[in-house]
């Protein structure tokens, strides 16, 4: 069991919600999705590879019949799955520091949520509602979200240069090459192992 694979961490969180609050949450997500500030902030935080929220209404736990007993629950549940780079502490520190309003908008409907600021109580809550990953796979353990974005920029600049490489004279190529280096100079970091944690 490990929550970590290479440079990425798998966080699983489940929180209970009173069913009447679930509708408010769905509206909040709709607003956040269409007003776009949350998506942009998440992009700018740049250490999340993939993240999702899943609402499970209390009657909608998958039921396949047979010997399975049907669930009888008071609460709806909010599941959160994140795939992020960096340490658990760094991740929560960053969210608390710059995305506290968005977080509050999503989690205030969950029971006993203390608010995303200040951070120590928030971390205690997450630690309590987090459950651990049994198996975690990534196709690129040596790369973070930043590494991937940089890699795609290098690939596309390389493809453009490659197109003209054979058709220019050396001086033209040298100019195109300089142009190419300037386009990729911020994107050449090596990939590899993650820093050792604790």
């Amino acid at each position: 069991m490990s929550n970590i694979n290479g440079k990425v961490y798998a966080l699983n969180v489940i929180t209970p919600m009173k069913p009447w609050k679930t509708w408010i949450l769905r509206t909040a997500f709709f607003v956040l999705d269409h007003v776009k500030p949350l998506q942009q902030d998440l992009v700018n935080l740049s250490f999340i590879e993939f993240a999702r929220w899943v609402v499970i209404p209390r009657n909608d736990f998958p039921y396949l019949g047979g010997d399975q007993k049907k669930e009888v629950l008071k609460y709806d549940y909010l599941l959160f799955f994140s795939n992020f780079n960096g340490t658990w502490n760094q991740y929560i520190d960053a969210f608390s520091a710059v995305l506290s309003r968005g977080l509050n908008l999503i989690w205030r409907w969950s029971e006993k949520f203390p608010g995303s600021v200040p951070v120590t109580l928030f971390k205690e809550y997450i630690a309590r509602v987090q459950f651990d990953t049994d198996y975690y796979y990534t196709a690129y353990p040596q790369a973070t979200a930043n590494d991937l974005k940089s890699a795609h920029i290098v690939q596309s600049s390389f493809d453009s240069l490659n197109l003209v490489a054979g058709q220019s004279n050396p001086q033209q190529f040298a100019d195109a090459y300089l142009h190419f280096v300037l386009a990729v100079q911020d994107h050449l970091g090596e990939t590899g192992e993650a820093p050792v944690v604790g």
Partner: protein, 210 residues
């Protein structure tokens, strides 16, 4: 379509695990034991089947009691959570799993209620869809590149950085000639295998790594 973000699909599956007091060890523990021994690198089943960027399997024992005044309640079954971030359409992805890694799927999901086996693709896909949850909000940092494209880009990035570093101050003729050779070589190289930690090491002639 909430499950999709660009070209990436956010698949969330919750499969109820068989509750059988007579099973020793219990079905959830058997799943855990199997997963504990499964490779997370190139030999992972998700590296053998196409299209998985990141995926996790979690045995969810129960909901979590957050403390008074919230009520304490419990699930009647345990659930196997399968969260996958994958390329393409759902049917293609699931069929790809059933076709490429049926033994692994069976070994894991045979402990779940109503699992029909991966031998029958259609039944398998229907079963997974019956266990699927709708993703309410899905975020992807890079949402328009497939797994093979990403692996190739990482390889290119590493090779390009080396080329730039070793060609500083080169004269234009040498630079152009070397670049064309470099590009041809890079294009002929297979991309690194999914799940691996780094650049693909070629095995040169003679079968030894030189």
């Amino acid at each position: 379509m909430p499950n999709k973000n660009g070209s990436v699909y956010g698949l969330t599956i919750l499969s109820p695990i068989i509750e059988d007091e007579k099973a020793t060890p219990s079905h959830d523990l058997q799943i855990r034991n199997y997963l504990a021994k499964l490779s997370i690198r190139e030999e992972s089943p998700f590296a053998q089947a196409p299209g998985t960027h990141l995926a996790r399997l979690v045995v969810m024992d129960d909901v979590i009691y957050v403390g008074m005044p919230a009520c304490e309640e419990h699930l009647k079954s345990k659930y196997l959570v399968f969260e996958s971030n994958c390329d393409g359409e759902l049917d293609t992805y699931l069929t790809g799993l059933a076709t490429n890694i049926p033994e692994h799927l069976d070994a894991i999901w045979k402990h779940c209620v109503g699992y029909p086996g991966a031998a029958n693709c259609e039944a398998f896909v229907d079963y997974m869809k019956a266990c699927q949850l709708d993703t309410t909000f899905y975020f992807a940092a890079v949402n328009d590149k497939s797994v093979p494209e990403s692996l190739r880009a990482l390889q290119t990035q590493s090779a390009v950085a080396n080329f730039i570093a070793t060609h500083q101050g080169a004269d234009p003729v040498t630079l152009q000639r070397d670049f064309i050779e470099f590009a041809a070589h890079l294009e002929s190289q297979p991309p690194p295998p999914p799940g691996s930690m780094g650049p693909y090491r070629e095995i040169k002639t003679g079968g030894r790594n030189e």
